[in-house]
Symmetry: C2
Subunit: 210 residues, 2 copies
């Protein structure tokens, strides 16, 4: 675990903090598709991502989903952060987008470290900052962009996160995450294909130039 910690957080955290994390943290490997957290669940630990990616989703009362953002190496879940203090329930769902390696830290340490370690404070606030901004960007795209632009953004981001130019999803799955319908997504994807920007296949999409 020490190696992973040093690699991802070594230049962020001071020595003492690294030691403490080593003592109370547990290294976990989660497979793609694994549900790390669901809406209404209580938060038990705080994840520090080492590798892979986690998608964070919102769901409304009818069960409609909406992708909020991805967490990557060096990120942590700010939703978790807020929940640690009061023992509040999660407002979001978190699912491993790829195979993911992370360190779980018990929430009890949060408060203590915030007082004790400057680097931890910085990390926590930095984390809030990026997460809030990503949430704002998601909100922007929903409020201001049309579906075709949102779809292009989605494909780009997904390709970046998965580090390949192939999106291994059905149209239906994409529709879920963008909170649209399968027919609409198929329609727009077909347009993108006709523009020569992507190539459509069964169960996957090849990105040419977006």
């Amino acid at each position: 675990m020490l190696q992973e910690l040093r690699e991802g957080y070594g230049n962020l955290f001071e020595k003492g903090l690294i030691d403490e994390i080593m003592q109370v943290g547990t290294l976990k490997d989660v497979p793609e598709g694994y549900k790390l957290m669901d809406i209404g669940e209580y938060v038990k630990g705080m994840p520090l991502l080492i590798s892979g990616a986690i998608k964070v989703l919102r769901e409304d009362s009818d069960g409609d989903e909406l992708l909020l953002y991805y967490l990557e190496k060096g990120d942590t879940c700010s939703m978790t952060l807020t929940c640690c203090m009061g023992d509040a329930k999660s407002e979001v769902r978190a699912i491993a987008e790829t195979d993911t390696k992370l360190i779980m830290v018990p929430v009890q340490k949060m408060e203590e470290w915030t007082a004790k370690y400057r680097s931890w404070r910085n990390f926590v606030f930095e984390s809030y900052h990026t997460r809030l901004n990503e949430l704002l960007q998601t909100l922007d795209s929903i409020a201001f962009d049309r579906m075709d632009m949102r779809l292009v953004g989605y494909l780009k981001e997904k390709a970046r996160i998965n580090k390949e130019d192939i999106i291994r999803n059905t149209h239906q799955e994409i529709a879920y995450e963008l909170h649209s319908s399968r027919v609409v997504i198929s329609r727009l994807l077909k347009k993108l294909e006709q523009m020569g920007k992507i190539e459509l296949h069964r169960n996957y999409i090849k990105i040419l130039k977006l």
Copy 2:
């Protein structure tokens, strides 16, 4: 200032912190409509609200606006919080919705107090928590609700914030904050009037039962 501080934050903050705020904070009265912060500006101070309300808005590249949420007594701006650590620019605009009284605290104290005072840490995290959740609710309403529902929610919230059942705004102003067009808002408002839920007048709307 001491009285205001005790009233709004007395049971939240410990004695030492109250003293420090007294030393470095400045009490300010801002009139309705005053712009406290704009997009791209650097954050200089952190507001602790005593009375009144502040609306927080997002703007896209075309200048289209969108109301995010209101800040009230006991609230602070979490955008400011994140900005304090790194010296980042503001991502949002903040305008006094009503005449507002607040205490401005220089951002330099943030870091120090977070380490020093337990009550300050709790306040900061609590603040993040509520703000993130409000942002999520705003996002929900944009992603999942139709404009008529959003309008009803807007009127309700505005009435609550202003503590009266009269909304002193033109249809155009409402359209801006909901990121819609005047004609659409007029249309929907007329429907609400026909349902007996509101009463329309020039420059104001009377809420009957929503």
